[in-house]
């Protein structure tokens, strides 16, 4: 249990850009990636906003170095792009020459639905050739795609716990290293926008037609987004003389056990996740310098998460913000995206503001970060990811 888990590389793609620098500049310029939908062929193109990556699936294939006639879901392409970047950032062009097995854990909530939904109707109407597009439907496809192109041997797996999926992938990678089962783990998550999820959230009536406003009294729901992010985790021995971007020091996963889609008003599961993560990290609430909140901007999440944060941190409440108004809610990728943002805040001693916040929530009476936090020493960051089905996960990263 004593092994340190270092982050030696990160890779990210979202509506804010495809490099960490582009994400940092967007945070500094307070420029959101959420806007009009132009690529997803949905009936809501003109009425709903989303954090859409303005690259076609063909563009993504080119970026990943794949042939245009290969069949890959958008989710798998985003995953591969971010995984390649994270590996490269950690000094690996591929893992072909590794002598010992490693772990690859990818997380997704919709998997290859973006491709299935485009061809489902034609198939049902008798176009049997469309069946080939269902090959990439299951969640495991993105993971196998990464393993194939990055030449990974070892333990590969896929986690699907809705919006907390990739936080759990990071957690599992860290636990495998801590227990000495592997020395390296490539972990992260990916979710592409799909008509399926857009309509699902719309039917649940939790999409805001305006820009979302996390932790604001007037918040009216979330904006969806898409993206992928990966972290290269390495043990101390494996890291050697390479630069560490931070350590994974705390993690916890709890169940809210309240309702299939709603969190408990007091945020019981959320509170438990934060407390347990602090305990595992051996840190006190006062040690946390910044919280990257889940903050989806739905009525229920922000109330419940806010209550839990207030309860755990009390008078030592650190600056906190949700970055969902920048990226949209990227579902299964959100935990990994926000892990990258947490690491960037440690690296730069800056934290992104909570975009679109104006008015404190009446029941909560706390304000998220609205002014840039600059040159503040940020050594310990807590990142929350909560999902449907009561899945609550918290991660803690340290310098």
């Amino acid at each position: 249990m004593s092994k340190s888990v270092h982050v030696s590389g990160i890779g990210i793609i979202s509506s804010l850009g495809s490099t960490k620098e582009e994400h940092q500049s967007a945070f500094i310029a307070e420029k959101s990636g959420v806007g009009q939908i132009s690529i997803l062929p949905t009936a809501y193109k003109d009425s709903l906003l989303a954090g859409e990556i303005k690259k076609s699936t063909d563009d993504l294939k080119e970026l990943c170095g794949l042939s245009l006639d290969s069949i890959h879901s958008r989710t798998s392409l985003l995953a591969l792009f971010a995984a390649q970047k994270a590996a490269k950032n950690a000094g690996f062009d591929s893992f072909e020459t590794l002598s010992d097995p490693m772990a690859l854990l990818c997380a997704t909530s919709v998997g290859g639905m973006d491709l299935s939904e485009l061809h489902f109707e034609a198939y049902k109407n008798g176009d049997e050739a469309k069946i080939d597009f269902f090959r990439t439907h299951d969640c495991g496809d993105c993971t196998e795609t990464i393993a194939k192109y990055l030449k990974i041997s070892g333990m590969i797996g896929t986690i699907s716990t809705a919006c907390s999926s990739s936080a759990n992938a990071i957690m599992m990678g860290a636990r495998l290293i801590k227990n000495g089962l592997v020395n390296r783990a490539l972990v992260g998550g990916s979710d592409a926008l799909s008509i399926f999820t857009l309509n699902g959230f719309n039917a649940l009536k939790i999409l805001d037609h305006e820009l979302c406003r996390p932790f604001d009294e007037t918040r009216a729901g979330l904006n969806l987004g898409e993206g992928a992010a990966f972290l290269m985790l390495e043990s101390e021995e494996s890291l050697g003389s390479k630069k560490s971007l931070g350590k994974v020091v705390g993690y916890a996963n709890t169940e809210d056990a309240f309702h299939q889609t709603a969190s408990s008003p007091e945020g019981k599961g959320a509170g438990l996740a934060m407390e347990t993560a602090l305990k595992i990290a051996g840190l006190k609430p006062a040690d946390i310098d910044y919280i990257n909140a889940h903050g989806t901007a739905t009525r229920i999440n922000d109330e419940s998460e806010g209550m839990a944060i207030k309860r755990i941190f009390g008078s030592t409440l650190p600056p906190f913000s949700s970055t969902k108004a920048f990226t949209g809610h990227t579902l299964g990728a959100a935990g990994a995206l926000e892990a990258v943002f947490s690491l960037l805040s440690i690296e730069s001693n800056q934290a992104p503001i909570n975009l679109n916040f104006k008015q404190q929530m009446e029941d909560l009476k706390v304000s998220p970060l609205t002014e840039k936090l600059q040159n503040a020493p940020i050594n310990h960051v807590l990142s929350n990811s909560f999902g449907f089905g009561g899945n609550c996960s918290s991660l803690i990263f340290s310098a």
């Binding site: 495991g140 986690i159 699907s160 599992m172 636990r175 495998l176 399926f196 169940e255 299939q260």
Partner: protein
Amino acid sequence: MNKEIYINGMGIVSPIGDLSNLNPPIEAEDRYNVVEPNYADYFPARAARRMCKVLKISQVAANLALRNANLEQTDGVIVGTAIGNIKDSEKFLSDLIKYKEQLLAPTSFIQSTHNTIAGQIGMSMNCYGYNSTYSHKIFSFEWTVLDAMLQIQDGLGENYLVGAADETTDLVFEVLSHFKQHGKEKFPAGEGAGFYVLSANKVEQSLAKLELCKIHHKYDGLTDLREELNKVFPKGLADFDCILTGASAEQDEFYKPLAELPTFPFKSLSGNYQTASSFALGLAVKLLNGERPLENDRFKPQIDKVLICNHFGQNNLAILSLSNV
């Protein structure tokens, strides 16, 4: 990993029932369906109507495992499913196409997420502990086992409910047949749910000791199965009184290297589906406890150690081993 892990309870819903007897499945040409339990014994009929088959059989198997272990709650719930509540995904997708993205009810969308199974089981026993869902083809079940072993190893809890379930809908069968995973020359397609209580504690009702769980992917293809296994078990395979294989037909090239060993293809009983190793573990427990399927002569009279070996394609190998308590 140095702590010992025990299987203290199991619950199975399969094409041969709950394994209370090991009769072979009713003859079927291409598909085995699970013997559906009387759901009313487990949850209210109103709740059952909203749930698709994979959710219902998971909840039943979970309840059976808990009851078998004499527990009302565990420290966590970890579920594996290769394709999840696919029936609900099909329904929501069909509806959104049919109604052109208008006036959709969210129910089937909510149920379609993979973590619905673990979430519902967690809620049914008021479990605020660890809760996770793996959805990775044939490794889905092994990940739940490995995760629980790590939880126990790290001292985060003592009892974990783990399991896997998948349902073969008409569409899934069609698609998998097209990709040659099902076919006339193979065992029929199958489905089922297998749940277990894994525990740090050896108790009177402990069913078996879990020795090993290994997930092994090789991007450039596995070498000969015997060689791969020799790497995991340097002392050889002679210790195993029975090897349950994931062979998809009586003759499966992949398992040829084990020909002279006491093997049995578990998919002949469960049918062929991605998380069938969650059935195999239950079968192994039964074998350790002296029970035998009808083809008795294929098994040694005394079985103290069982190896379960499952594979997919040329790249993926999953290994579980267990022994008598």
